[in-house]
């Protein structure tokens, strides 16, 4: 998935979280409300839309603007699994990133033994990539890097697709670290 971090395709852009289910129609059917989880995680970290997110994609640095509907959630729900929120919200942002950046879509969910969360498909349907995602609620640059290394090793073992991608999303400052393999 080298296209993701290369040349003219890698430029500042807008990630509209509300478009997630249009970008990835399969998510409409899943039992997890990814958009809602992203709103919760961003509100929990006291961010307001729009928010700048730092992006490190392999060796390149850039930024994206995250937008979402703040009127849909003004107070934090009490009964939520905080770890689940972080992981599901990271999936929402990572999936919005791969679609907005390279127009890749979800093909299907992978079982845990595949060492990847999702199998992605390119816009022309001819290429596939395995995507592994993780989230950190209160990140530091070193923690992001360490987690990215872990996730890269994990997805590196995946047989799901020849192209592989690890994405780690931090919510305190909002940062997106991407590694393509």
């Amino acid at each position: 998935m080298a296209i993701l971090c290369n040349g003219p395709n890698f430029h500042p852009m807008n990630l509209d979280i509300e478009q997630l289910e249009t970008q990835h129609p399969l998510l409409v059917a899943t039992p997890i409300r990814y958009v809602e989880m992203a709103r919760i995680a961003l509100l929990r970290a006291k961010h307001a839309s729009p928010t700048k997110a730092a992006v490190r994609c392999d060796d390149l640095s850039s930024a994206v603007t995250l937008t979402w509907d703040t009127s849909a959630m003004k107070t934090l729900p009490q009964a939520v699994d905080q770890i689940r929120v972080t992981e599901d919200a990271a999936e929402a942002i990572a999936l919005a990133f791969v679609h907005t950046h390279a127009a890749w879509r979800i093909d299907r969910r992978c079982r845990r033994g595949e060492y990847a969360d999702w199998l992605l498909r390119s816009p022309n349907g001819k290429r596939y990539a395995a995507l592994e995602i993780s989230g950190i609620a209160d990140e530091s640059a070193s923690l992001m890097q360490t987690r990215l290394e872990e996730k890269s090793r994990q997805v590196g073992r995946s047989l799901a697709a020849p192209e592989k991608l690890a994405i780690v999303v931090g919510f305190a400052g909002v940062s997106i670290f991407v590694r393509t393999l």
Binding site: P25, A29, T30, R108, R109, R111, Y128, L159, A161
Partner: protein, 156 residues
């Protein structure tokens, strides 16, 4: 939680994509039940098995989705405690020359590890060579129970 078949299911998906959506939901549910150590996980993995085998039928063994579906089917057969079905699927999938070597090794390894775990769990039966026969009977009994023929009559 959204439910399968509710009005939010995208109605316009073509068959392969609809199957991909259904297997994605089924895997998420089975893994949630597995995390919660719920006995219902066995039935949930059985549903994953049905969907993965259908996906395996419509995908090439050499393609990424084909490999994922075939390994997923064998894994789901083992997780729904259908060792014989898993072994039959391995045999069927291995007959396809297009199945990559790495996938063959993975599938063989899954079955071998499951068999070893089973032997450790039931050492006396394994020593007598009766493991397959007894567990097959238990598996059949479980399948009959899950088809609705419960121990107690169901009120009309």
């Amino acid at each position: 939680m959204k439910q399968i078949g509710d009005s939010t299911m995208p109605p316009e998906l073509p068959p392969a994509e609809a199957l991909n959506a259904l297997v994605s939901i089924a895997i998420m549910r089975a893994e949630m039940l597995e995390d919660a150590h719920e006995p219902a996980q066995v039935g949930a993995w059985r549903e994953v098995l049905q969907l993965e085998t259908r996906l395996a039928e419509i995908t090439s063994a050499a393609s990424p989705p084909g490999g994922v579906a075939r390994a997923g089917a064998v894994d789901a057969a083992l997780k729904s405690r259908q060792f014989e079905r898993a072994s039959r699927l391995r045999q069927e999938y291995f007959e396809d020359a297009q199945l990559p070597k790495a996938r063959r090794e993975e599938i063989s390894s899954m079955i071998k590890n499951y068999a070893l775990a089973r032997e450790r769990q039931f050492p006396a039966l394994a020593a007598k060579g009766a493991l397959d026969a007894v567990l097959s009977q238990v598996s059949n009994w479980r399948a009959q129970m899950s088809e609705g023929r419960g121990i107690f009559p169901v009120a009309a």
